[in-house]
């Protein structure tokens, strides 16, 4: 299975995401932000970092990159799966590919720590109840209007929630899916929990689930 990691100027989690996908059995390439087609990939990741310095708002400038138009088309034709991690999630929200927006953390500060997550959608993450992953962000306080949250809850599009809300996110939401379940956004960093020397390997569970989801759901449709 082929994965592409999109690199914007200011992206800074590209190399560890590359390594994490390698150990998860993917063939991996970097995708530069000016590419106009990404159809050769089964999985496309928008990794963490500070694209364009997070100037204006996190993700607000990256969303205008040529590659984001390609990501939109890729998702529309359900070619494969798109995952936005941290800054990638913020870019997807700014692009309107996922609902909601991000505010500054409730503490006003950047937070880097391990957090416990409770899995909400067991179709995507089968046999996984809990996850413990790193968060590392200043603007991780997810927000959306009540109607959107109701829809997310009803359509079971909330992937996981924080056990102890670290940043003020509404309903403790830490990760969501789009309506078609082929675009995912998550604030925690699965790539930082994939190596023998990491505190745990919960990130591998996520990449394994993605692989299964792509095989069972997306390939069936296409």
């Amino acid at each position: 299975m082929k994965a592409g990691i999109v690199v914007f100027e200011g992206t800074n989690c590209d190399r560890e995401t590359f390594n994490a996908l390698k150990v998860s059995g993917f063939d991996v390439d970097y995708v530069w932000h000016d590419w106009t087609s990404i159809d050769e990939y089964d999985l496309v990741i928008l990794p963490g970092g500070f694209s364009y310095g997070d100037y204006l708002r996190p993700g607000a400038i990256a969303r205008f990159s040529p590659v984001m138009r390609a990501v939109e088309e890729y998702a529309e034709k359900e070619r494969g799966i798109v995952i936005g991690i941290c800054n990638g999630f913020q870019i997807l929200a700014e692009s309107g590919l996922l609902p909601g927006a991000f505010l500054k953390n409730r503490t006003g500060n950047f937070i880097c720590k391990m957090v416990d997550l409770k899995v909400e959608n067991h179709d995507v993450l089968d046999n996984v109840e809990k996850l413990r992953l790193y968060i590392a962000h200043s603007d991780g306080n997810y927000t959306a209007d009540e109607k959107t949250i109701d829809t997310l809850e009803r359509e079971r599009r909330i992937l996981f929630k924080y056990v102890e809300n670290p940043n003020g996110s509404v309903h403790s939401i830490a990760g969501i899916a789009n309506k078609n379940f082929n675009i995912f956004g998550m604030m925690p960093h699965p790539e930082r929990s994939t190596m023998p020397y990491h505190e745990n390997n919960d990130g591998l569970k996520i990449f394994k689930a993605v692989r299964r989801w792509k095989n069972e759901r997306i390939s069936k449709k296409s």
Binding site: E9, G10, N12, C13, R15, E16, N19, A20, G48, G49, F50, Y52, G53, D54, Y55, N109, F110, I111, C112, K113, Y134, A136, S138, H189, E191, R192, T194, M195, P196, Y197, H198
Partner: protein
């Protein structure tokens, strides 16, 4: 005094002016005076330190020190950004990070870790908050994990905080870049941000005391982490080009210092064309362009006619590019503006300021009287744990991204941080100083600081490979300060020789004084060690109930006046040979399977060390020992040994002739010292005094 010197707005010492005039056999013009004012400043020229450091440390001319783990080079260096942080703490700290990162990338190394040694008068002050925010915003954005360091408090830093940053990078053998120019007729190119008037006089500002009546704000540079991140990536790509001969960062005195140093290291001359420098502001004078300390710029020496290869990488990362000069065989440093020559000086005159360093020897007393403790410990223990220097810094480290890069094995907590390098191998990194020690006795205190940094590396399963340092002092023109500096240099030299670890780099910051107050002498020492097997890094908190707790190192101690609980007048006599033996023995035993946790004993003695190990895992201890709970002495460790393996462990230590004592066991949920019991919850509360939440 000549008319032109009278008009000069910045200070150039009269002595220097006369010297220059005599050597040139003419008056230096305005541009030239500015050139000397920067290059002969303490900050660029190291007039009061360079010779002593060269003679005592045997250093190379390169941008950072280098040690090797197989075919992987570890480049590392510490630099201070004290003066800017005193005036504008946020930007001061941010640009301090940016500057030291560029030293590491100039070696062709990819930065993998940052550590900060921060010294303030008090927590939660304007300066404290600003510095921590600056590190957080800049370091997090460029994607280099901040994995360690220290935050210490001392009333001597109320006007002059110390912000010393260490950057660590990795580079493959064969990819190491030099700052040494080669060959006349090659091109000096600039890559990075545009040049503006920011940071003008930064070098000379950092070479004098801070005067509150002067407005120093324009001397502080402003950082843009987004440009730095692009500059890092572009530099990594440019360093792979065969046409790149030399690389140099732009720090103090900007283009001027960067390019002349590169030429000087290669024994060449240099022509610079200031009109080709991409500018941010209109109407800048030649000297302003030369001296500007605009951030996020690098210079490269590129083989003639290969400039386009560098330019295309700069374009990819949307960075400015310009060919601003070329090397010559003339030995002259010439500056041109639109084909008009505005300066012509012998290059070595510019790069070799007069030597003002002094060997002033002073005796600092040491005493050898027995230490004494009796009675309860609870009050002192809680007071020490909540002392801001000892208290947990978790609330600060959570504001730094310490796991970006995905290579962090041991995040910031106790002792040294560990970063994965290749296969099973990693590096252990430590950075620290201790003004209470060095102000009582700069010679012996400095040795203790180096031993402490090595002990941290060893406690994290590492073997020390190399030492770097940043030495922070007041005004070196004062005899007392010059003596402190000389003692510090000798202390570092002697202790590194005793431990058999080379000093690979050094940085000096003088003139840390304002309002008549000088900082205590504060050498900050960074140590890099190799961890042969990252799976064997011992825990730094207690693991199993029932395991034995040992103290390894000297048992009966002399009274140490620098100890946190005491604050006396004299430093104690230390048997350094014995301390070195202890370090070596613990280093060897640390990877044994029966050593489950390991922590170095420093501020607050063994009671604080054991409390820290207990708080982290909330496993209690039952101690039964007559050793003094709070006394401090170098090279002592607390080890948790697996139950049933005590004999094997003791045999190992005895064969090495190292002192040790079993002092307790891991047990229950209280901290029991002999018969006195303190609940872990009260220790935890005291230890969390710096931040509201854990």
């Amino acid at each position: 005094m000549s008319a032109s010197q009278k008009n000069l707005k910045m200070p150039i010492l009269r002595d220097d002016y006369e010297k220059i005039k005599k050597l040139l056999k003419r008056d230096p013009n305005e541009t030239e005076q500015y050139i000397f004012s920067a290059m002969w400043s303490e900050h660029c020229g190291y007039k009061h330190s360079k010779r002593l450091i060269k003679e005592h440390f045997n250093l190379s001319d390169e941008n950072a020190g280098l040690v090797w783990i197989d075919d992987i080079g570890i480049a590392f260096k510490v630099e201070s950004h004290n003066h800017p942080c005193a005036v504008e703490p946020f930007q001061g700290a941010a640009t301090g990070i940016g500057g030291i990162i560029r030293d590491v990338i100039a070696m062709g190394a990819r930065p993998v870790a940052l550590l900060d040694s921060l010294h303030f008068a008090e927590p939660h002050s304007h300066i404290y908050e600003g510095v921590i925010s600056g590190i957080s915003v800049y370091g997090n954005s460029i994607g280099v994990p901040t994995v360690g360091g220290e935050i210490r408090f001392h009333s001597g830093y109320s006007y002059n905080p110390l912000v010393n940053v260490m950057a660590v990078g990795v580079v493959k053998k064969g990819d190491v870049k030099t700052s040494k120019a080669q060959g006349a007729g090659n091109s000096v190119v600039l890559v990075g941000s545009k040049t503006g008037r920011d940071g003008l006089h930064g070098a000379s500002f950092a070479s004098r005391k801070i005067d509150e009546t002067l407005n120093d704000r324009p001397s502080v540079q402003v950082g843009d982490p987004f440009s730095e991140k692009r500059l890092i990536e572009a530099t990594m790509e440019i360093c792979k080009l065969d046409c790149v001969i030399a690389v140099q960062d732009m720090g103090a005195a900007g283009i001027l210092s960067s390019t002349t140093e590169m030429a000087d290291h290669g024994g060449l001359g240099l022509d610079l064309f200031v009109d080709r420098v991409p500018l941010r502001e209109k109407g800048m004078k030649e000297w302003e362009i030369l001296l500007s300390e605009s951030q996020e710029r690098m210079s490269f020496l590129v083989k003639k006619d290969h400039e386009e290869e560098v330019e295309s990488i700069a374009k990819k990362w949307e960075l400015d590019f310009a060919k601003i000069g070329e090397t010559t065989s003339s030995g002259e440093f010439r500056v041109f503006n639109k084909n008009k020559r505005v300066s012509s000086l012998p290059l070595t005159l510019v790069t070799q300021p007069p030597d003002l360093s002094r060997e002033i020897e002073k005796e600092y007393s040491i005493t050898n009287r027995p230490s004494f403790w009796s009675g309860r410990i609870q009050g002192t223990l809680l007071k020490l744990l909540s002392n801001p220097t000892i208290a947990s810094k978790k609330c600060v480290y959570e504001r730094y991204d310490h796991s970006v890069g995905g290579e962090t094995v041991k995040p910031p907590s106790f002792d040294a941080a560990v970063i994965h390098v290749k296969g099973q191998k990693g590096i252990a990194l430590s950075l620290g100083g201790n003004a209470s020690y060095t102000e009582l006795n700069p010679l012996e205190g400095t040795k203790a600081v180096l031993f402490e940094a090595c002990a941290n590396v060893i406690a994290s399963g590492g073997k020390p490979l190399g030492v770097t340092n940043c030495m922070n002092f007041g005004n070196p023109e004062i005899d007392e300060i010059a003596a402190q500096f000389y003692a510090t240099v000798r202390g570092l030299e002697e202790s590194s020789k005793l431990l058999g670890i080379p000093i690979t780099g050094g940085n000096v910051s003088f003139y840390n004084e304002s309002n008549g107050q000088e900082i205590p002498p504060t050498p900050v020492v960074g140590v890099v060690g190799v961890v042969e097997d990252i799976r064997k890094v011992p825990s730094s908190h207690f693991v199993n109930f029932g395991d034995s707790i040992y103290l390894v190192g000297r048992i009966n101690l002399p009274e140490n006046g620098a100890a946190m609980y005491l604050k006396g007048n004299t430093f104690c006599e230390v048997d350094w040979e014995n301390c070195a033996k202890t370090l070596k023995t613990v280093q060897n035993v640390s990877s044994e399977d029966f050593v489950l946790s390991l922590h170095d004993v420093s501020d607050g003695g063994i009671a604080v060390a054991c409390a820290e190990m207990a708080i982290e895992s909330m496993k209690g201890v039952r101690m039964s020992t007559m050793v003094y709970p709070f006394e401090e002495y170098p090279a002592r460790f607390v080890l948790e040994v697996l139950k049933g393996k005590e004999e094997e462990f003791e045999r190992n230590l005895k064969s090495n002739g190292v002192e040790f004592e079993k002092i307790g066991i891991v047990d229950g949920n209280s901290f029991v010292w002999n018969l006195e019991s303190v609940p872990l919850s009260s220790l935890k509360k005291a230890y969390a005094s710096l931040g509201e939440e854990w």
